[in-house]
Symmetry: C2
Subunit: 273 residues, 2 copies
């Protein structure tokens, strides 16, 4: 059973509920973070904490707990879950508001959840994504604003795709919930603008730097045509190959050796975490 | 005491709470509507219902209740509140989601709330707003996305202003939660694009058509310089004069006779509702 922390109280997640004057609910004023544990330990905890702190600061939300206190809560929830490994979700909103618009005191939720791994067939065949002309507002903040991809879910399904790849004016940014990479010869290329600074992205960039030239820069749609491989990264997806983007087949349409190599390096890292 | 309806149950609003897998809370996937009663009757009910239905359709959310059923719930909540007049808030979200992203069944809340009238001094002096380069996504849908104005609250306060006036590329759209009008001679002008179709806006356009030429069209920032008056409309604000926009004083900086005239016509209408 999974438990959650809500403003100082720990309870089974099925019993947790948020009052209806919450600004996350009424006004979409919320942020979150999400990470996995490996061998019972939060993966890249320092980096996740830093990002959560930055998101909070940019949304003018004071953190109710410090880093050490938060870590203690996380470890207690992991232990109470009884699972060897879990997903951990932080959600922080503008809190309860008497006038439905002004921030008084944030609401902070910390939850453990079951991990939903990517189906193995997606690693074997790669995924298809479709292009969408869009850029996330304040992309570097992990806000709760995912209206776009939920609205587009019927289009994604109709195209037999798994996700959206956002571009605007021909410049690629990211997928709806994960980062984007291209492989060209010995170069690994990833967009530097209008993206969430993914922790898996950062980890993969570090791992890749051993064997590849890693380029973080604006990436244009036109570069898709001569790319050898493409992949996406997130805590859940790890390194997941993208073999089709709209009507365009990437490389030979099969999962490429370099994406596979990076996935193996990533799996080695987390197995020894 | 105020009561609320939540997925078939009526309870005091202070006891209502939403489970933590709600897509409104986790993913900002929610919409709402808000109106007042006059003489115990919902103002412009047909128009509000129509807008709520349109917002729901555009967000792919099936309505759990029909128009007559909803009206019956609203009337029961008004009666239970014991107040002569109340505000009514509808909130509908993507509902509880097992995978935190897919819509299963919407959650619908219907609440009565105390009316928070605009302080009389704002009608006497008019308000100040500041310009913000921004346009709401899907402005015609009354989504719960109000991140922008909450983020900018410190800037609004620092400027001694009450709200933002959104413009992009020199074209004015709306305030953060209300519509925008200019008065020029015998013409009343309001933006036609990137705006929520306000019910008070529509009511005021109808009232104004008796004595003025009403123009619904793109409105440019440059038109502020020779406007006689400006005002904003919403269910709470009714017809509220704007006397300053950033550093620019509108007209002579005092509340103008035509804004005042329209407010009087509006007040007559609602008093006889």
């Amino acid at each position: 059973m999974h438990y959650g922390y809500f403003n100082g109280t720990i309870a089974p997640t099925t019993e947790l509920a948020v009052g209806i004057t919450d600004l996350g609910l009424l006004r979409g004023y919320g942020m979150f973070d999400y990470f996995l544990t490996y061998n019972g330990k939060p993966f890249q905890w320092d980096w996740y904490w830093e990002r959560f702190r930055n998101s909070a600061a940019q949304m003018h939300l004071p953190l109710p707990l410090g880093k050490e206190e938060t870590y203690a809560v996380v470890m207690q929830l992991i232990e109470q879950s009884g699972e060897p490994d879990v997903a951990v979700r932080f959600v922080m909103t503008g809190g309860y508001s008497a006038d439905s618009i002004s921030i008084e005191q944030p609401n902070l939720l910390i939850l453990t959840e079951a991990i939903h791994p990517v189906p193995p067939v997606q690693y074997e065949n790669g995924i298809k994504v479709i292009l969408d002309e869009y850029v996330r507002e304040m992309a570097e903040v992990k806000s709760t604003d995912y209206k776009r991809v939920i609205l587009k879910a019927p289009d994604i399904r109709a195209a037999g795709a798994s996700d959206l790849l956002y571009q605007r004016g021909g410049e690629i940014s990211e997928l709806s919930r994960s980062n984007f990479f291209l492989v060209k010869g010995d170069r690994i290329v990833t967009p530097n603008r209008h993206v969430l600074r993914g922790i898996t992205r950062r980890t993969v960039m570090e791992l890749a730097a051993v064997d590849f030239k890693v380029e973080e820069r604006p990436v244009l749609l036109s570069e898709l045509y001569d790319a050898d491989e493409a992949f996406t990264t997130s805590s859940t997806k790890k390194v997941l190959p993208i073999t089709q983007i709209g009507d365009l087949t990437i490389g030979d349409g099969k999962v490429g050796p370099k994406s596979q190599y990076l996935l193996e390096r990533f799996n080695e890292l987390v197995q020894g975490w």
